[in-house]
Subunit: 335 residues, 2 copies
DNA sequence: CTGAAAGCGCTTACAG
DNA sequence: CTGAAAGCGCTTACAG
């Protein structure tokens, strides 16, 4: 590949001059500019971003470490992040933690080594040593998106609050006559995992219901754990009459299990999920879900991060989620 | 951030020595090694990957440019690519073309600027000038995955052949009494778009059926186009009695449209899709689909690329897809 | 308006 | 076994 020296030689100028025209420095005469541009075209020259970044100490790249790319919520989030980042002149490099803290740290480390300008993180669990150090040293501007880590002050959080929607869901189930409500929870190490079970329990309490231990399935936000938890519920002497899965993948797992056992939803058991996805209107039955403003989250997160990177102050933003009632808990599906 | 000089100073050695212990060069005495390692730990030193890559002319990174991340097929492919790449010691940077040639080229350019060691590409359409040049110059080892570009010789292709499965599908529909078969095709500029409609037409011909122009919906592999094509079919004087969507997103769009108009699947119209996804068993009705060995594709593609990067010869690989009959075309759903 | 020089943070022959 | 030196490909004060 041609280097800046080749271009300089061809245009009969110095490398400094080539650099200037490429960076649109004003002080270049029109015709040297033309000669340089011609040489660039002839040699099909592409500046080496590594060298440039090494010199300027910025990469115009942000990292996005997501808990699980196979989860449509994160896929959509990643997509929104990419779009907004591109609009602001950044590229994004995605790392997939697959819900494993180890893998998350691997990606964070790789991204730091690459000297990304900023990091968007949806932590797979609590704060690893690497993460604490990153925050403490301020080695890279950081913004949490969706999930966050309490106690790491000064890190903006962009997320959706699902509490009100979960309360709506519980009331919805209650209104439809369900009384034995169970939850397939996310990992307690995640904020979303805790928030969702907390809101669920609180809403139950408001209605005078409790959440017995057997009605708490411990999931990890992935499909298999939904399957296992659902199986556990069904083997109880008194199985629940409604199950709330704390994300869409665990709902998929639960649905698999229900069908495998020949149960009808919602007749035999109701099912609802956190996170709405395009397929939910088409499942049998259509699944009641809590929808997050996913694209807005992605965009807001990028803007907050860009603010930090570029020296402005960034603030946290909390949007809200909303209940989309379909048929999987009974009734609905008018529209 | 600490640099190699800081570490060297702290350990009382030269930068060269620090470099040697970090790269596990054998010729380092045990105790200098220990001193260096201690300094590294104390300073929480992380080598600058940019500088290293600039010097060594390799990034240990491969690029993956995918036609549409929101398509579960590509998400799963990306995931498999990441896993295999990590196993081989590479990281991967993903670019999402969103089915737009312009955006695809933007990502390819960005990746080239970053001096990735190799590129995995599922082209959004024909060969852009940038792509032709990349191949011609051999500026970066390239492997096509899923889709490819005919005429660019010497570029290995890792893909699944869907022809036999499509033939199986057409026979399946025929056996169930369907005679007016329509297709929502992908872009003619893509190999998969062409292959799928070609195989469909050929299978029809074998049964003495033709594929009239009105029964060809021109889609772009995204949901909206599925919706529009389905609407077009339904407004025909003689609508089809079966629709084959050339990917899962267009099937989603078609399903949306059918339901919006109150049509029953499969009673009023049969539906089948290319690409199987985890939700298909749970839709109403469960959707008959053609499943690709997606993970194997991703892994094989990475291996082929690594072969090229590391100077071995890489060959193309063609796996095959298979029909998974469910209820959306009538009957099935035993299992 | 333009060039020579220094330097970003590494690695790697070359000496010793 | 270890260090000094050169160089990867850029950018950017500093002179002129």
């Amino acid at each position: 590949m041609a280097s800046i020296k080749d271009v300089a030689a061809r245009a009969g100028v110095s490398a400094a001059t080539v650099s200037r025209v490429l960076n649109e420095h004003p002080a270049v005469s029109p015709d040297t500019r033309a000669r340089v541009l011609a040489a660039v075209a002839e040699l099909e020259y592409r500046p080496n971003a590594l060298a440039r970044s090494l010199r300027t100490a910025q990469t115009r790249t942000i990292g996005l470490v997501v808990s699980d790319v196979l989860n449509p919520f994160f896929t959509e989030l990643a997509r929104a992040v990419e779009d907004e980042a591109r609009a602001l002149g950044y590229s994004v490099v995605i790392g997939n933690a697959d819900e494993q803290p180890r893998l998350q740290d691997h990606h964070i480390a790789t991204l730091l080594d690459r000297r990304i300008d900023g990091l968007l993180l949806s932590p797979a669990d609590g704060a690893s040593p690497l993460l604490r150090e990153t925050v403490r040293e301020g080695s890279v501007p950081l913004v949490f998106v969706d999930r966050w880590i309490p106690g790491l002050d000064g890190v903006p959080v962009v997320r959706a609050d699902g509490c009100a929607a979960i309360r709506d869901l519980v009331r919805h189930l209650h209104a439809l006559g369900r009384r034995r409500l169970a939850i397939i929870a996310g990992p307690a190490a995640t904020t979303t995992g805790r928030e969702r079970i907390g809101a669920f329990r609180a809403a139950l309490a408001e209605l005078g219901l409790t959440l017995p231990q057997e009605y708490i399935g411990q999931g990890d936000f992935q499909a298999d754990s939904g399957r296992r938890s659902a199986a556990g519920f069904l083997e109880l002497p008194e199985p629940p009459d409604a199950v709330f899965a704390a994300d869409n993948l665990m709902a998929l797992g639960a649905l698999d299990e229900f069908r495998g056992r020949g149960l009808r939803v919602p007749e035999d058991i109701a099912l609802a999920a956190f996170d709405d996805i395009p397929w939910f209107p088409h499942t049998a039955p259509p699944i009641t879900a809590i929808a997050q403003p996913t694209r807005e989250l992605g965009r807001a997160a990028v803007r907050a991060l860009a603010d930090r990177i570029e020296g402005r102050t960034a603030s946290s933003v909390t949007l809200s989620a909303r209940l989309v009632a379909r048929r999987s808990c009974g009734e609905p599906e008018r529209t």
